[in-house]
């Protein structure tokens, strides 16, 4: 065949050279892509729920005298990939939270004067008493870890 002009190559008359997408193919692509995204979301949600609901082992994480009021101890629970913070809010009150901000998983830091946790990435704030969102982009409270005090030891009771 004779050499063709550029615009002719862009609009080939031969069936196999043409990038022809039928309406049905396009609709199928859209449908299957949406389905894949939906199933992926469902899978992530289920996986996260299963992971959360499986109680981790009870563990002693600190002794009462380790922390002065306003001090923080970091630990990892339930796996080594899950950083958490143990905070002594007042002489009687302890609280433990996941350190990952619920917005984009930056580590939060404790501000003892205002008794809140601050995420430096996007200025998200969480209350130290119960982990609820005070300000900023996060929508969900910080996951709280149940604690129990037995004698002079602080124990984690399982579920995150």
């Amino acid at each position: 065949m004779k050499p063709q002009a550029k615009w002719r190559e862009d609009f080939p008359i031969h069936w196999e050279e043409d990038e022809y997408v039928t309406r049905r193919e396009f609709t199928r692509f859209l449908g299957l892509t949406s389905l894949a995204l939906f199933l992926g979301t469902v899978w992530i949600a289920l996986w996260e729920r299963l992971r959360r609901s499986a109680p981790g082992p009870a563990r002693r994480i600190a002794r009462l005298e380790e922390l002065a009021v306003g001090e923080v101890k970091s630990f990892r629970y339930p796996t080594a990939d899950d950083p958490c913070l143990l905070i002594r809010i007042s002489p009687e009150r302890f609280a433990a939270y996941s350190q990952l901000c619920t917005h984009l998983a930056c580590p939060v830091v404790y501000e003892k004067e205002k008794k809140r946790l601050r995420c430096p990435c996007h200025e998200g704030y969480f209350a130290a008493e119960d982990g609820r969102v005070l300000a900023g982009p996060p929508k969900r409270p910080l996951p709280r870890i149940d604690l129990s005090i037995e004698g002079s030891d602080i124990w984690i009771q399982g579920a995150l």
Binding site: H14, W15, E16, Y20
Partner: protein, 209 residues
């Protein structure tokens, strides 16, 4: 064995079987893609069936501004893609054989696609399967050469342009060349189509000199 389409207008008896067989097709029910033309209706009952010749380099596809006419790997020129055809009739004007027709109701060009749904799976096109006189014949070239006196031609000369087609036309065995010079045939005096005064002008036009 490769199957080919052969048209022999001299065998056409004008029975319209091809037209009605074509009309049966579900993809264009009620519309025939075969045109049964009268050669000279006032003087003769002779008719000639016109189906798409399926050119190697189809003018209809070349002129389509919407990129709607496609050629398959087998060399079958398809009818316009319905999503793309804008009904501009460029192909209708460009086709040297007068095959594409603009259908007003559908705002689409529709033309013969050699019953691609049938021929691609080894069946005959509808028209050829019903033609009682084999004016439309679909089969092996050897069979045609064995059974017919005429010889198949698939090179058509229009002025300086040679159009090669997939479908063959059966012509007189005395034809010296395997080419049918349509332009000079139209100009030939024995055809008597042109009044004497217009012959010179037409010759100049056709020769493009």
């Amino acid at each position: 064995m490769e199957m080919e389409f052969f048209i022999d207008p001299s065998r056409c008896i004008g029975c319209q079987a091809c037209v009605h067989a074509c009309t049966e097709c579900d993809s264009h029910r009620g519309q025939s893609m075969v045109h049964l033309d009268f050669i000279d209706r006032s003087a003769s009952p002779q008719t000639a069936p016109v189906v798409c010749m399926h050119c190697e380099d189809p003018a209809c596809a070349r002129v389509c501004p919407a990129d709607a006419i496609k050629v398959t790997a087998e060399g079958v020129v398809q009818s316009a893609l319905t999503e793309r055809c804008i009904g501009c009739s460029n192909c209708v004007l460009a086709c040297p054989f007068g095959v594409p027709k603009y259908m007003i109701a559908a705002d689409q060009m529709m033309k013969c696609d050699l019953c691609y749904d049938r021929t691609s799976v080894g069946k005959k096109p509808m028209c050829a399967s019903v033609c009682p006189s084999e004016a439309l014949f679909y089969g092996a070239r050897e069979e045609v050469l064995k059974r017919r006196q005429e010889k198949p031609v698939s090179d058509f000369v229009f002025g300086r342009q040679v159009v090669k087609t997939k479908v063959s036309l059966m012509v007189s065995p005395e034809a010296r060349h395997l080419e049918l010079d349509v332009a000079s045939f139209i100009r030939s005096p024995q055809l008597g189509l042109l009044p004497s005064g217009e012959k010179e002008g037409m010759r100049g036009l056709g020769a493009q000199e």
